[in-house]
Structure formats: C-alpha cells, structure tokens
Symmetry: D2
Subunit: 364 residues, 4 copies
C-alpha cells in the first residue's frame, strides 16, 4: 500500500490536505455492536484542536466530525466506517510567496522532489492537520479497548525544552493547557512559553503515553512485535524524531542485573521493559516516550532556496504552534490505541481467546 | 499477516527456532537480473556469527547459507528467493531445567501466555538466532542498493555502557571486534568487557547506522514515512528499546532556530533531521541510532517463577553475549537495507523514476 | 485487512450503505501529475446510474461525485484521493416490514449471522449501490491507463437470458440501453424485457470486458497472477457467480492442439488464452466474461423466514432492476481497470520499465 | 507483495522452481496447539504426486516434505512453519533446445518479457510443480478445519473432455486414478485416455470442489467476499481458465424465481448459490467448479518463435500429463482449504466467535 493506511485487522486510511475541502478517514475492521457516536470522537478532537490556549496556533477550526457510514441505530455494524471533517478555515489566502519556496525543516523540498508537484497551501498533505483524522479513529479504538477490555490510554507532556515533569499525577493532565502532569511546574512553563513566543522561536518536547489493563499476549513476532508496531505508529506522527519503550535509551548504560524485571507469583518487581517482552505485551503497563522536534515555522529569518534554485530567506508570519509537542498528546494516545486495537484483533485471529492458558501473574 | 514478514514490495518472511532443524527465509520482490551468490550473503553472516571473539557467546554455528531458488545462472530471476541455514549446534542438551521456568527479561512468560505452549530450547523463536536470516536477506538488499543506486549502509557501535565513541572513523569499524569507530577507546573497551564477563553481568549499548547515497524521495506519507518504517524495522530487532532519527531525543531541548537545517543551492547546511523531512528522504545521509538493552542471560541469580506458579531462582550457565549490542551492528544494517530497498521499489511503483523533476541540491 | 480495500500499490477502499448519508472511497497510490477532475468520473457514474432507462430500477440518484483531496490545480498530487457521493434518495421510508425478514437470495441472513446486527435499509452495505464508488475509482484508473499507456477497456452485455450477441460491434455498445454489441437483437431484447417486467420476474446475464493495448508482463506469479486477480475483482461484484478468462469453460472439451495459441514473429495466431499466459499478460487483448445471477428482488412471492425463526412470505414491491447484468457493464470495466492499474504499478516496482528486454511480437 | 503469498491471517508463501534445488513454503498464522506431523501433509502430496498412474506424467518425484520449524513436541507453536521438498529428479538434462524457444501455450514468452531472463528448465517457476507446496500447506489448513470445526473439503473430476460425471458418489473418488465420482464412466475414461495418449494430444477438464460443515459468516465484504477470494485462489492454479460458484454460468439463463434459494426455519430449499450469499458463507455446502485447459506440452508439432525472433517448430518429447485436470483435484482442495482457513481467522479477528448471535437454520 502507498502509505495512507495503518493496521492489518483494524485498518485506518486517511485523506485530506491542510487547506483542501475536507479531511476524512475510513476505519475498516471495527467489530460490530459497539455503541458509538460523534461525541465519542469529538472529545479527543477538541483536545487536539488548535486555538484553545495562548500556547498554540490561532487557526480557527471547529473540527466537527461527521459519521457517514458504518454506524446504524447507534451501533457499529462491522462494515467500514467513513468519517469526515470539513475544512472551514479555508481562506483564499495568498500563498504565492511560498509557492516556490522550500521552507527549511519542512517537507516542501522532499514532496516537490518525490512527486514533481505539491499542494503548497499550508503544507498540504504534510501538515499535521491530517492527524485530526487519526485522533478521530483513535477515539473509536479507545472506546472499544476501554469498554470491552478495560484498557485505558493516557498521554502527557513529560518535558518541554528544559522543563521536566518531576512527578506524574494523572489527575493533573487535563487541568492545564500543557497536558502536564506536574502542577508545580506550571508557572515555569507559562513563563518559558511567553518568552519563547516573544522571541519568535519554537521548542522541542517529550511526550509520554501509557496503556494500562493491556492483557498478556498482544504482539506478533518477529517483525510485527508490539514495540516495533508502536514505534512505527509513533514515529509516523509529524515532528517525532525518537521513540522509546520503557527505559528506552536509558538501557545503554544499564547492566543486565539492573534492567531485567524480576518476577514472582505476585507479579513483576519492576517495569524497565515498559510492558513488552520479546515483542509481546506482558500485562504490565505499556510505557512509551517520543521526542518532538521544535516546529520550523518561526519568525526568525532563515536561509533557504527556491524551486528555481535561487537563494531565498524564509520568515514565517502569523502565529504557529511554538511547541508542537503540546497538541501531540492526544495524537500519541490515538496512535497507541490504534496499534493496540489492531493487535488485539490480530491476536484474536490466531488464538481462540485473549485469556491465555496459564494463570496470569499479578501486576504491580 | 501474522508478523513474520516485513516489507510491501520487497518482502522478507522468516522461519526457524534457535534449536530447530533450520532457519530460513523467502525474499519476494527482488528485481531480476541482479548478480548474486551465497558469498554475497556469507560475508555479513560471518560478521554476525557467534564465537568470533572473546566478547561474544561461545555457541559454534558456521551459519552457512544455501540458496534454494530464485537465482539462475548467477542472476536473480525475479521469482521468490528461498534461503536456508541448517542448525548444526543442535546438541540434544537437557533443557528440562528451563522447561517450566520463566526467565526474567526473556520472552518465556509472554510466549507461554500468548500461545499456551512454546519451544523452550534456547528461547525457540524468540532467540536472536532468527536474525541470521535477516542478515542474509539484508545482504541481498545491500548489494542491489549499492550496485544499482550507489547507496551504502554502515553501522557501528557508538556506545557500550559508559564508553562512548568520541570520533567516528568508518575505516576503523571492521578493524576491531566491537565494530567501534574510535580506536582510542579500544583498550578501555577490552578492559571493561573483561571485568564485566568476570562479574557475570551484561551491559547495554547504542548502535548507529548510516546510509549514504540515498536519493531524495523515498518514503510514503502518512503512516509509512521512511522514519516510521525505519523505526519499525529497528525496534523489531531483539533487545532494542529505543530508536532515534538524526538528533533523536536531543531535539527535546532544541529550539527551532537550532534544529531546522538551513538550505541553499549548494545544499543543506546541517543534518539535524537525519536525512528525512516529512517522512521522505532528503538526499542527505540517513542517520539512525538504537538502544540495546543488556541481555538478561547472566550468571547472577534472579528471582522468578515457574509455569506452575511457584517461586524459582534463575541463573544462566554457559557463556552468553555479555553485550548483545556488538553483534547487532550487522543486523541493524540489514534492517535499514531492507527498508530502503522496499521503499525504493514502492517509490518506483508510483513514480516513473527516482530521478525527480526539479534539480537536487548538493549534499554536504 | 477487513475486505473493504482492493489492490496493493493502487489501493481503493470504500465505505457507505445504500441508505446511509454518503458513499465514499479513498484511492491510495495514484501517480502524481495526472490531469483529473470530477467530470472524468461522472461519465462512468452516469453510465451506471439507475433510472436512465425503462429496463432499470426507478431509484433516483444523481450520483454526483465530489473530490475532497489529492487533486491540486487540476492534477493528482500523489497523495490519497478522497471521493464522496451523498445519498439524496434517502427517504425516511418505512422499513419495518423487512427489518426482521431474511429475503431469499439476499445477504440479509448472512450479514445478520456474521455481525449480529445489520443496516436493513435497502440492503445496507450489501447493496450494489456501493459499486458506484468502484466506478468512480475505476474511472481514475481508466484515465491513467489510456493516457499514459494507451490501454483501453470496454465492456458489453454479451447475453441476457436466452438472447446472445452474435456479433460484437463496439460502436453499438453505447448506442442502446443494454450495452449490447449486436444491433440486430435489440428489438428482441426490448420485447423480452417488457414481458419479464410484466411477469414480475428477473433474469441472469453474461457480461464481457476486453482490455486492449495492455503491455506484455503484467501479473505476479504465483498467487497474484493477473487472471487470479481479475477473477478476484470480478467475482467480487454483487451477483457474479462465474468468471472466465479467454475461452473459459469452453476449454473443458478442447484439445491441446486446438487450445494453444501458436506464435510467430508476426504475432499470435489466435487468442484462446484471453491475453494471459502463466498469469502474465501476453500483449494480446485481455478478455474476461462474468455470469450475473438474476436479482432476487422480484414481485413473485417466495417462502422465507424471520430473524425470530418464523415462516414468512417475501414479495418485493417497487421497481427493481429486472436484469442487474445491464448496469454491471461499467462496474466490470472499472474492476478490470483497477486490477490493471494496480499490476502496472506492481510491475513497475520490481522492474525498471514496462518495456521489456526482448522485442515484443506483433498482435493480431 | 510480489505475489508469492496468499492470505491475510493464514499466510502461505512459496518458493522453488521445477528443476531447482528445492521447493519450500512458509505458513504464517497457523494457530498454536494443533497436532501436526509430516504424514498429515504426505497423504495429499501423494495424491498429487506424478507417476502414480498411466494417465499422468512419468516424472519420478517422491515429494517428501520436511518440517523445518513451527512444530514442537508434535504440536504447532503459533510461529511460522517452514516446509521443504528437495527436488530429486534434477537430472542434468540438456535444455539447450528450449533455452531460446517460446513454447506456445506456455509462460516462456511472458516470463522472458516480464523479467528479461528466466529459468527455462522445465518451466522454472511457472511449472505446476510449485503446487506441491500449496498441497502441503493446504493439508495443514484441512486438518485444522476438520479437527476444530468439522469442516471437510472434497474435490473430484467432474468432466474430462466430453465425458461428464452423471452422478457424484463421494465414496468412489479415491477408488480410481481419475478422482472420478461416477463409476459407470471409468471404462469410457480409460479408453478415451489411451486414444488421447496415442494421438500425442491433451484434453481439458472440469474439477469440482465442495466444502461441508462451513459455519455461517465467513467472508469479508466488499472486495474480499468469500466467493471472490475462492475465485482468486482457484484461478491462481496453473491452467485454470474459469471459476464458478454454485450454478455458475448456468445463472445466465435463469430467472430470479428459479435461482433464489427459498428459506424456511428448516433450512434452505436448494443451493443454487453454492453456499455463499452477499459474499458470506450461508452454512450450506460451498460448491465451486474450475475449467482446466489442456496442457500445451503435446507431441503434435506447433509453430512458434525463438527469443531471437526466428520462426521455430515446437514438439514436446517425453510423457507429460495428457490431462492436467486429474492431478489438479488435490490442488483445488488445498486452495479452498487455505481460503477457508484464512477467512475463519479473519472472521475471528473481528467477531468474538464464529457462533453467531441468531440461531442458524438447518442445512439440507
């Protein structure tokens, strides 16, 4: 396939450009009988939506999702679910200034080279606006996972530039505009962001996402290990440059005696592995982290070139996300949900039931 | 698919257990007309082979690959290539001691839970022995990439526990048993490893892999971005816990004005992006890093449990790899080669030629 | 995947129910740079549209297709193309009479059993209304095939009940409401259909489809042979019960000396094979035939049962297609176009160019 | 994928040429815990094996299958199953006479054009010898289907040239060398074949295959309908030119009132549909028929051409199958088994269990 689909048994395919008529997706493989409506998706769409705080872009998009098929009398029918969000903020803006310009750090140059032409309006297909559909599809997966299997997925911003969360209080995450789990750092974050916005620059971030209640057994050796599939899904989010499972790059300087999670009939003694052993979920919480690069759309001038091969200077006007990591939280949750959903169905295909034959050990 | 295949147009499917009769793979989609023989694969197999230095496991396997189909009169025919390596070190060892034991940090518990039964001899399918076939398949991709497109792929050990390479001298990599690019640290490494082996413990590592000569345009937005696919392939290697592209987790505390790679008609001014923009190769070198956990097979006792739910103590006898990161170097190269090969073919499917329509900028 | 997609490199995924809000599809993998607009698709949609003659259903649907993404400034961009047709004839009809009824010959019973619930309005997802999106996607493939490779695809009704076309005059096909290539039988057809409609019954048909200008070399041995893929695509059309390539079932009583198509430097002497040898296109016209069953929606009462297990009688009211074979002509063309397009791209992935190394022989 | 794989959840990938070192396949997705050994596959391999009667080719191949992985202590482990058959009848025959010759009716010309080179020994990859691995893989599917679900699959030769089976007595099929279900025609068949062999010609045939015990609900609308998938699998067998489900081409002249299978709480009144409605199995026996062309390898001279473009005459020496339809019986069974197995697993992925929610009706 040409890359706009993800999954094998729960397949999400998206379309849509930043400034095109609409964004849309098809979910193929959702089990029948799930109670589902637009509000189930709208909640996460609203969390991702731009323009909700002073720290994000000012673009105004209501991002209202419409269900076009696959749901009947309030329940999924097992057939393909069509979703659509119309682009309303499609001002007939003048894009002639960026038409032939390759903005550094953006996909302008690579799209132009790959395809020979491109929709340059707002980045076209390469815009993170496309992720709205992933969030909608992820919400379907989240609902199924929670309702049928008790699996919950929560993401948060674990670091913004130099500011790290020292504690992770899940109850805090939805209480602030940063999805930040450490209340004590909120003032610091606010001050940092104000200065950053003033300077016209942007900043990187680290986002973490945790799934609890995942049964033992999900993941398909050898190439489609659960961790490999999570890495695929998370690295596929715009601006992500790194993915970690469990201790991640911390393992480089760990010894085997430190890293391995000891087991007893009461459960695992630790979770350095991040809930995955041999590519298969262990029943412990699945923990993943991603590194988000700072957006390249900044008002500080930068050297670039045009499609004609001339030197050019790039300055981005208007208010862009100074830290794309913030709005990436619901996207990361959605991608993890889609992967878990797909692997739940894949596991079910080959194995009679998710409940395995030997007793599961307790989870600490 | 159930996970033993990777790729869409260049598809590699593997089989085989650590102590089964043989390992094998099928390569489907290799273009016809490539000159190929067993020696092309044997070189990389020998680089991965155990027992070549004092720093790796003592298992004796010649790992001789046999081509069973798909090559005729010295050239690939375009049909599926069957490869096989017979397991010769299949001593009828007594495995009764680990039959019902879940070794911590291993996949014993998760395989047992997923499948309800498992081949416990040497880890069965979860053993890194399976990666021999990936190396063989990767060698086919490497040869094609180099011969037809001038693409070269080189991996190295960039860090072993606390010891980092300060310089990267590619000419050094094949001169030492560590695939280490910094000659000045070899004595330190030797000393560290001797102490480690004596202590019965193991250590993590960081492996880096670089592809040069990659044309602009490889990678399929939006889910099958080149970086997402590389992350999938590298995270799918046994013991990998993290993947980075370019600056990786370093971006978390970078500003946009630092990170974005400025461009001019002479080329990019830097390569923070690691050769990928918007999920598409930029023509710069592709740079990826992986974190390898320390092997859990150590001679230091650890608490565990049995399949029957009893407490047990695990001590691994015999000589295992104290740092699995070392032998992972050719595996990482192979996986990157397979991904690039697959995306070269995928790109070719949709686009008339890899040579794109606007002139490529120079590469620094 | 769960079945709503077709193709590997040119992938078409559809959604939509007969009486839902909209039908839609995503085309993933269309090469960039193809001039394309809605009118290109509308022509074939109008050929398939109901209500254009007295011989088809009276349902009124304008079937106006909207392009939502993937086309910019009149050309395809290489990204996913989103298409949508709103259902306008969605009268809030009373369906309570068929809600619990399993109409014989329809998918009511099997959908109910498979999914446990179903959208019973007009057959929901099992309705042939879904094929509108295939026709739209097929039109994209047709345009590319014709413009870039000179491949043309033409279908026709070769038999309706007892009435066979004795001659195949391609110029006649679009001149009558039957897509019938034998002008001399039109009166007979008209008379037959009038009687049939009066009787309340329906009739089967045979549809033929021919592709000319197909280059040698399309098709992937061994499972995805071109004939196997065509069979998959054509048998996947609603109501199809048989597929033939070339002489089809006529070969059962042929001898080898009759069947094999002799060759000379001037070309093939005959085309019993239907343009495919060993699963690969031979450069001759590709010829396929399908058998369409008579629709089960007739006004003659038939014994059936309810979801509750009670005996019931079914009588279909309103005007349904008395011969679904007629409107199947553009659908069969679309499916053949999608398969050829996909295999053109698949071939291109593995082989440098479609123009093969030895000179093609002439085509008779 | 490049065509050597079939299936989505039960995936079979094959390799091997007619006169190469070995044939092999990988089965990915077989559920764990199935008791399986080589004898389970050998039975069907022996049914397909050449040289067992005077009516088939004289090539001597024991076709002994070896299991290389995926089975441990007599049971499948859920990991990939590697199978291999070594080619023993690999005489270093002189093939120089056919090296540059395009035999009419064979794939010589199309392979040469597609790939630019080919393994010309015995047809290479295009030889029906490849189907041995399908039979081995099909035997695994058959065992699972029968043991776990009570599904049985039986094929037979329903017509050989002009001689049709008037009755279908399943107990007769394995009693004669033709897999013919009508004992009264055996003498006629013997006489026909003796004359045919003497004349040096070959003859077409029709093979039928029936699956009983298939639960309601298998098949994925809209493109991967069960009938579409069966058509794909059966048309992918060498020499097949047509596929029918149920009444097949007989429907062309049927009326709706004749064709539709009436239902009552006691079951269906007939099975014109061949066990599939709307692309989903109905619980009735699945019935498919295929048309097999006469082999083109005959000793009657035929006009052809060389790779150099010269006129040539082709005469096939040695004893070839005068009716390839005979040995196709176990192959057709295998392909149907693989499709049903795959769809059983696909169904299971999306639906909690195969036992559907409303009571199944009885089967007549």
């Amino acid at each position: 396939m040409s890359g706009n689909s993800i999954g094998q048994n729960f397949v999400v395919t998206t379309f849509g450009e930043s400034h095109g008529k609409a964004l849309g997706c098809i979910i193929d493989g959702c089990p029948p009988g799930l109670e589902l409506n637009e509000a189930d998706m709208q909640r996460d769409l609203d969390r991702r939506r731009p323009g909700t705080s002073r720290y994000t872009t000012a673009r105004r998009e209501p991002d209202e999702v419409r269900v076009l098929s696959g749901i009947f009398e309030g329940k999924t029918t097992g057939t393909s679910i069509g979703l659509m969000i119309e682009n309303t903020d499609q001002r007939s803006k003048d894009y002639s200034n960026i038409k032939d310009l390759f903005r550094p750090g953006h996909a302008d140059y690579t799209y132009q080279q790959k395809y020979g032409l491109r929709d340059y309006r707002g980045g076209g297909r390469s815009s993170a606006r496309e992720t709205a559909m992933r969030v909608a599809a992820g919400a379907v997966a989240k609902k199924y996972l929670k309702q049928v299997h008790g699996i919950e997925i929560n993401g948060y911003l674990s670091q913004l530039g130099p500011i790290k969360a020292d504690t992770v209080d899940f109850s805090q995450i939805e209480q602030n505009a940063f999805f930040f789990p450490d209340e004590s750092k909120l003032d610091e974050l606010d001050e940092y962001m104000r200065k950053l916005i003033k300077s016209g620059d942007s900043i990187g971030a680290k986002v973490s996402v945790v799934a609890t209640g995942v049964p033992v057994g999900l993941g398909e050796p050898v190439f489609d290990r659960l961790d490999a599939e999570i890495a695929h899904a998370l690295m596929g989010i715009n601006a992500v440059k790194g993915v970690e499972i469990g201790d991640g790059f911390g393992v480089v300087n760990q010894k085997g005696s430190e890293h391995r999670d000891l087991m007893s009939p009461e459960g695992f003694a630790s979770n350095h592995a991040g809930g995955i052993l041999g590519g298969i979920s262990s029943g412990q919480p699945i923990v993943a982290h991603i590194a988000m690069k700072p957006t390249s759309s900044i008002s500080i001038p930068g050297e670039s070139m045009t499609a004609q091969g001339d030197v050019a200077e790039v300055v981005t006007k208007g208010r862009h996300d100074p830290c794309v990591g913030i709005r990436a939280v619901p996207i990361a949750e959605a991608m993890l949900a889609i992967v878990l959903m797909d692997h739940l169905l894949r596991h079910r295909a080959q194995n009679m039931d998710v409940n395995s034959q030997t007793p599961e050990i307790g989870m600490r």
